[in-house]
C-alpha cells in the first residue's frame, strides 16, 4: 500500500471537511487505524483546514449571542429506522426518554399554512355569491309563478266572456 499516494489522493481532505461519500468515510476510518502515517497526516491536515477556515472567519453580530442565550437548546430529531436491523436496535431502548422530543401542550392555538387565509376568504366570498344568487332566483321564480297565476286567471276570465 502506497500510503503517500493515498495521502495525496485528496480523500483525507474530503473526509475532514465532510464531503466524502459514506464508502470513502468508512475507507478512511479503516485506513487510519491500520496505517499510523495516515492518522498522522489527518492530524496535520486538521490544523491546515482550521487555519484555512480561520482566514474566512467573520465575527457574527453580538446580538446573536444574546439570542442564543435566550433560546432553549434543542436536540436533533432522530427518525426511526424502519429496517429490520434498525427496528431490532431501537426495540431495546424504545421507552427511553431520550428518544422523544418533549412538546409543550399549554398552547391552545394551532398554526396553519399561510395559504389557508386566501382559501378561507375565497370560500367565504363564494358562499356569499351563491347565497345572493339563490335569493335572486328564489324571488325571480316566485314572481314568475305569481305572474303565471295572474295570466291564467286573465285567460280564464277572457274565455268565460
Amino acid at each position: 500500500m502506497n500510503t503517500q499516494a493515498y495521502i495525496e489522493s485528496g480523500i483525507l481532505e474530503a473526509y475532514l471537511i465532510g464531503i466524502a461519500s459514506d464508502d470513502d468515510v468508512k475507507e478512511v476510518e479503516a485506513m487510519q487505524t491500520t496505517y499510523p502515517e495516515i492518522s498522522l497526516a489527518l492530524n496535520n491536515l486538521q490544523t491546515d483546514i482550521i487555519q484555512h477556515f480561520n482566514t474566512s472567519a467573520i465575527t457574527p453580530p453580538p446580538v446573536l449571542r444574546d439570542e442564543l442565550m435566550l433560546k432553549k437548546p434543542q436536540t436533533e430529531v432522530k427518525k426511526w429506522d424502519f429496517t429490520q436491523q434498525g427496528t431490532n436496535a431501537q426495540q431495546e431502548n424504545r421507552d427511553s426518554k431520550n428518544n422523544y422530543v418533549e412538546v409543550e401542550f399549554d398552547n391552545t392555538h394551532i398554526k396553519v399554512h399561510k395559504y389557508w387565509r386566501p382559501a378561507f376568504i375565497g370560500v367565504f366570498i363564494l358562499s356569499k355569491v351563491f347565497l345572493i344568487l339563490a335569493l335572486y332566483f328564489y324571488f325571480k321564480s316566485d314572481s314568475l309563478q305569481q305572474e303565471n297565476l295572474r295570466l291564467k286567471q286573465e285567460l280564464k276570465i277572457s274565455t268565460n266572456k
Partner: protein
C-alpha cells in the same frame, strides 16, 4: 418556582452546564462557523438564523467526542446546516460560477464545499474521474499551505 419555569422552558437555562459549554463553544468557534455559513448562504439574515440554529441544536457530547476536535466538528455541522437551508430556499441559490476567475481546484472546492455537490456528481458534471476531483481538493489545500 424558578426551577419549575426552567423545566417548562419558560426561562433560559443560564446556569446549566450544557448551556455554559454551548456558550464557550460559541465564543470559540462562532466566527469560523459564521464564515463557513456566509460562504454558502450570502444572505446575512439567513446566515445569522442558521448560526443560531446550529448552536441551539449542537450536541456538546458529539462535539467533544469528535476525533478531530471541536473546530472540525463545527465546520462540518455549519456546512451541513447551511446547505440544508440553501436547498430549502432554492429560489435564493446563487449557483452561478465565474469559471474564468477561478482555478480548477478552486472551482471544484466551490462546487463540493459551498454548493454541496458530491465528488461523484462533480466528476459527472465536469466529465472527469472522481479521483481527479479528490486530487483537485488536495491541490486546493496544498496551494493554501504554500501561500502561507
Amino acid at each position: 418556582m424558578n426551577e419549575f419555569a426552567q423545566l417548562k422552558g419558560i426561562l433560559p437555562l443560564h446556569g446549566s452546564p450544557v448551556r455554559h459549554e454551548v456558550m464557550s463553544l460559541y465564543d470559540a468557534y462562532s466566527s469560523i462557523a459564521y464564515g463557513v455559513i456566509l460562504q454558502i448562504l450570502p444572505q446575512e439574515n439567513l446566515a445569522q438564523e442558521t448560526l443560531v440554529n446550529l448552536f441551539t441544536t449542537l450536541s456538546v457530547q458529539e462535539c467533544k467526542n469528535c476525533q478531530f476536535g471541536s473546530a472540525i466538528y463545527i465546520i462540518r455541522k455549519a456546512r451541513t446546516k447551511a446547505i440544508e437551508i440553501k436547498n430549502k430556499n432554492a429560489n435564493n441559490v446563487y449557483d452561478s460560477l465565474i469559471i474564468d476567475e477561478k482555478s480548477v481546484s478552486e472551482m471544484i472546492f466551490e462546487l463540493s464545499f459551498r454548493q454541496g455537490q458530491t465528488p461523484e456528481v462533480i466528476a459527472q458534471r465536469l466529465n472527469i474521474p472522481k479521483a481527479q476531483v479528490l486530487k483537485e481538493i488536495y491541490e486546493y489545500f496544498k496551494s493554501f499551505r504554500q501561500s502561507n
